[in-house]
Subunit: 876 residues, 2 copies
Amino acid sequence: MATKWVYFFGNGKTEGQVGNKVLVGGKGANLAEMVDMGIPVPAGFTITTEACTEYYRNDKNWADGLEEQVRKNVKKIEEAMGKAFGDSENPLLLSVRSGARVSMPGMMDTVLNLGLNDTTVEGLIKKSGEERFGWDSYRRFIQMYGDVVMGVEHAKFEKALDEVKEAKGVELDTELDAADLKELVAKYKAVVQEDAGKLFPEDPMEQLQGAVNAVFESWDTPRAVRYRKMNDIPGDWGTAVNVQAMVFGNMGQTSGTGVAFTRDPSTGENVFYGEYLMNAQGEDVVAGIRTPKPIKALEDDNAEVYKQLVEIYQHLESHYKDMQDLEFTIEDGTLYMLQTRNGKRTAAAAVRMAVDMVEEGLIDKKTAVNRVEPAQLDQLLHPMIDPNTEYEAIAKGLPASPGAAVGQIVFDAEVAEEWVNNGKKVVLVRNETSPEDIGGMDVAEGVLTARGGMTSHAAVVARGMGKCCVAGCGDAKINEAAKTLTMNGTTLKEGDWLTLNGTTGDVVVGKVDLIEPQLTGNFGTLMEWADEFRQLGIRTNADTPHDSATAREFGAEGIGLCRTEHMFFEGDRIKAVRQMILASNQEGREKALAKLLPYQKGDFLGIFKAMKDLPVTIRLLDPPLHEFLPHEDDDIKELADDMGVSFDELKATVESLSEMNPMLGHRGCRLGVTFPEIYAMQARAIFEAAAELTIDGDTVIPEVMIPLVGTPKELQLMKDVCDNEAKAVMDEKGVNFDYRVGTMIEIPRACLLADQIAEDAEFFSFGTNDLTQMTFGYSRDDAGRFLPSYTELGILEKDPFQSLDQAGVGQLVEMGVERGRAVRSDLKIGICGEHGGDPDSIDFCHRAGLDYVSCSPFRVPIARLAAAQAAIRNGQ
Amino acid sequence: MATKWVYFFGNGKTEGQVGNKVLVGGKGANLAEMVDMGIPVPAGFTITTEACTEYYRNDKNWADGLEEQVRKNVKKIEEAMGKAFGDSENPLLLSVRSGARVSMPGMMDTVLNLGLNDTTVEGLIKKSGEERFGWDSYRRFIQMYGDVVMGVEHAKFEKALDEVKEAKGVELDTELDAADLKELVAKYKAVVQEDAGKLFPEDPMEQLQGAVNAVFESWDTPRAVRYRKMNDIPGDWGTAVNVQAMVFGNMGQTSGTGVAFTRDPSTGENVFYGEYLMNAQGEDVVAGIRTPKPIKALEDDNAEVYKQLVEIYQHLESHYKDMQDLEFTIEDGTLYMLQTRNGKRTAAAAVRMAVDMVEEGLIDKKTAVNRVEPAQLDQLLHPMIDPNTEYEAIAKGLPASPGAAVGQIVFDAEVAEEWVNNGKKVVLVRNETSPEDIGGMDVAEGVLTARGGMTSHAAVVARGMGKCCVAGCGDAKINEAAKTLTMNGTTLKEGDWLTLNGTTGDVVVGKVDLIEPQLTGNFGTLMEWADEFRQLGIRTNADTPHDSATAREFGAEGIGLCRTEHMFFEGDRIKAVRQMILASNQEGREKALAKLLPYQKGDFLGIFKAMKDLPVTIRLLDPPLHEFLPHEDDDIKELADDMGVSFDELKATVESLSEMNPMLGHRGCRLGVTFPEIYAMQARAIFEAAAELTIDGDTVIPEVMIPLVGTPKELQLMKDVCDNEAKAVMDEKGVNFDYRVGTMIEIPRACLLADQIAEDAEFFSFGTNDLTQMTFGYSRDDAGRFLPSYTELGILEKDPFQSLDQAGVGQLVEMGVERGRAVRSDLKIGICGEHGGDPDSIDFCHRAGLDYVSCSPFRVPIARLAAAQAAIRNGQ
């Protein structure tokens, strides 16, 4: 039997190709599926992917029998549509589209209106009654065909068009009438002849053959080859070709076209939603020149068709079990569905539909959990710009922390606090932020910085606070001294109103309306279902009782990372911290540390209470000491006066502490090793707090985390310091409590030596921010200068600070897990840092066998959902 | 049969213990070995290590039979020595020493002069005729025994001594006479009684038992336990105890003592070398109070003994097949050998002896190659301070680059160049150096810096130049503006003379005499032998024709790392470099680069010629661009004027290019990716030079190395840039030449993805400096603040920037080798950077299967020798 190269669909008939994407490609299978369901679809046929590979195998010649099968199937379309290919009265026009197994958007070619020639254009004009439409379609077809099939340079058509417009003395294409367009057709044909060296084919079958070849060959363009390479698509798959009858919604008042959703894509409400226009083409609905009517009005225009459409949409939704985005055309009173696909939706709609559909029995919980993009949830957790409001952005920065903010500009963190105390709302505008700005960031509505990337100080802290932040806005020229913000020519002063959209990075002058987040019942329901599936624990990164409480409300099951350095900045503490740094000996340091102890204890009391019964992982001091000292001469002078030392002495200390590469400097446990009294104070504060709450009858689970460990001995020494303090506090207070000492795994060497480190570590927490910095050799603070080019050039698929680099950093994480557990099989392993809230990274963590992920409070729901999806995806 | 716990040696007899270090420890076996050879050794016996472990097993009691065996063997000593233990006329005194299987220097205890009491002291006085000596020996014995055996606090003896001196009104111990010392003996006994709560034992056997126990127990002191742990010595080995007759060289004019070497330890000349004193103790020879006589003079003092000594030294050397360091004592005309061991020697002596001994047929070439410490060779390659000169160091820094330098102080690199042009010799003194100082460093005799570690800019560049450098001299307070150098209270000015000892780190005020290196024929011979054994290739790191030629003379087989950034600083080039950096677009950059092209080509022409027929690996630009710009306002102003831009504009550019962590910033191939025109210019310069020399008939082998690759795609893109230039140059010049494009492997991720990277890389070169920085998360520039504590606390065994961290970084190197070769089995792999010249690291490279190591020119001979030893050690 001869090979079957062509599969017909239409008129309720298909040839067994439904579900066989390998053979007929995705689009071919879907069109056939609709036909099989009895949905009216313009008839057509699919040329198989095998025909494509055969074409290549055969030196770019059609397979034996393909031409005959194509001719037969064109006949079938003619019969189904009641039109004839090449006919002068009622011509059948065809679209020719590629359709590979997987979607390769924009990669391959399409030809529309195929079949038009000097004869059939007359038929099109007669049927539509629109002479201009006929000639316009014809000239567009010649241009498209000339470009795609015959390789004619696009610019040459443009030149011919310009000549006609010039001769006519008009500016716009729309000002050309039918006669002009007819003239243009002649000119276009001349262009083709001149450029391609042959005549434009008038024979529709010849046109068809050319278009099919062009689609076959678009599979092998350099662009497509590169795309396949990037997406691991084998070159020998080939593409199918879909040849389908064109239908027209602009054949008079009995024709029309529209788009519709089976539910409201904004709210998720279960109502038929959409719009249409009679006597119009699809692009008219979208273009906004005519105002489309709401879909319900179609009942008045054509009750029969409306009824049919309702039945179809209900059928499609129950078939695909998801909200569908439909395109339809009515040609001369006959309804055709052109496309159905899962519809895009807002986060709120996604959640509502998922929950509704479970309640309707349409889908199960697992499907519902998979239905919502975790990242989308972010929209639901912050105030946001009212989606119905239009605004004009004056500049764009990085969308560093989502949500929106409206406030008066201030350039100084202290001023921010003052103004907010006076009842104002402010937006903090800085070249970049530093730990000293935290107070101001905390009270501001949002933060705008001119420098720094998605993981700059401002971005990380803002995300931690769930506060809107637009970072690295290169167009913002900030003069902090003069208190001016200049963006693209507009200069704003302190007190001027500014709106930030942290979800998009837009910066807007003035006030834009915001809407508050509503965590509806559906949201809670979906989260509960997610918790049923996920295996990963979800903790949060929180440094304050307030953040801890927020995170707990969002479902956090403990703290995975409580940074202690922020605590060192608040109020008077910084003074004691500086005394400690400037002390010349251990005694002096211990004296200053003694002043800090009660503060730290107070911090931990608050956090432990907020996280009662849940584990709290506290990282001991991490940043280099110079971060706690001022660097500008004026500030040094002020501090020197304040501390009663000379300016020169203080300046010398500041300079002697400065580092070439602070990221790789004297920080983390290296501080603990050289100044064990610092870690001893912190450990004591933790354990005294734990002891006091234990005495009060609370259950606290402190986990002391040693940062930046790269050698087993560092951990051993620091663990001794902690254990000694724990023992001392237990003895003093006469109480026992559980605690663990573990380590951040954030240095490549720690992953390599994880077995030795696990001998002393009671838990691991991967600090993938630093691990990424060191594994790549990228400084987060500086990588902004080349990372954008890197993702643009495809050197990196994603910013590795946003989504964990599974190919490289991931290997080290897996190594750390495997080697750590080889020594201590019950080793508890988590991840903290930015990646803990990224869905792809969470999927990796699930596969790597981690116990939990930890992320900022506002990402906890995202992490819960992503963890559930990871469990489902990887086969629970 | 009862267990044999004790083995006798002496009088030519032993009991089979020779070679059995497990049983009698190293010292016991060696003493017995000498006796077996017929060498006269004071008789003694060894209590076995088994007796020690039995002692612990037995709750610190002697094993059954031990006491009896000890008594019997004391008798044997008495017989052998013709003295009696406890005798009042001719008393036998004993030494009691530990002796484990492996040497644990200073870890365990020793007791000397055991057997002295109120009776035997009189005998000692009679025999020696020295009353003062007798009482002094006695009081010293009480103190040592009290301390080691009875646990009496050392300070209490000191107090008693002070009291006697005070009463007598003297300051020095030597001012006390016999009567004073006798009084002191009584006081010491009282101290013992009071502190230990019991009488000092008068019974010699009781003394012996106590001393043996003390040695047994010194095996388990915390200090010894820690030492064992650090050195992986099992705790159950135990220590042996050596009990040996004391002999005295101060028993009158027929007695004497001396030290000798079987060859001259300074020159290696095959002559008997040493000195002695009659009627003296060993310490008198060393202490320098009396001037010892040269060993030859002994022939006059006692021809018989001299003849015997000559026979013995020849016998010992031919037995041990190495130069021996001997100690001997003549007691009353009888010669005793106290010790023989391989003698320490200068590098020159080591080389000469190794070569001589092969020629004498004493050892084979393999042994000769193993006989010289590679690191020692360094002494031979630089001018050094005359070892016969004494000097007083005013300060000490890090011995950053060996050799010595004498010159006048200058504080500025430009001044250095001026002064040297005027015929002066200078030492460049800087707080720290930067690339702008290279010209000054090049002309200076040596460099002193106040800041920076062993791998600071100054240190690395100086080692590369083979120039003496003392770095990180914390005692040096440098005021570069005032042009003063203050060290420990002394202030020097510009023009004052200074001497640096780069081998020790000493800084000396004024001029000290230097001697020039002499690469004798023996040196060349040894190097040839080394080359016969080694498997690793040895290349050099060199950036100039001069360095290339030097390295080639030292035996380099090519260049493993030619840095191109230094070339950017010379003369007028820096101007073009700065124009390139300040250009706002690609066109501007290309214009500036066009100016650099001829310079770079000239550089490569020179280097290729110097390395004719050998491979030259050239690293494309690596440092961040801001390194080429000035940072001080004054310098910025000058440059701005020079370049015709405003100060503000230039300052803004400098600031915008500054980085938080330049080490992890926009450098290496990240520059090449964002500004491909830079790498294109460099590649073109390389290939034009190669083409021109090829046309001239020379063979050049350029290897273009892309730095800082962390993703396969970076290499792919940069390789394309190079290949395009190569093709273009070949077409233009009409000539073909071979070249390779490969990559530095210096980022952890590159090791993890080495398989993918090897698909495009034609060679790998491990950049272990940066790889160490990133694997540990240490900045070389900043680690000085904690690394010293880290090695001190045992957190790290060695500075990982000096010796490759095999446990961590080594894993990544092995991974890189394995994965790279899995894809490309003939992948050529080398290492460049500081570790390439470190013997331990070279051993690792040999084991890891690398093809070559590359090091600075002056380390090439060291690397050749180390590579040979690695091959021998790991079984060729």
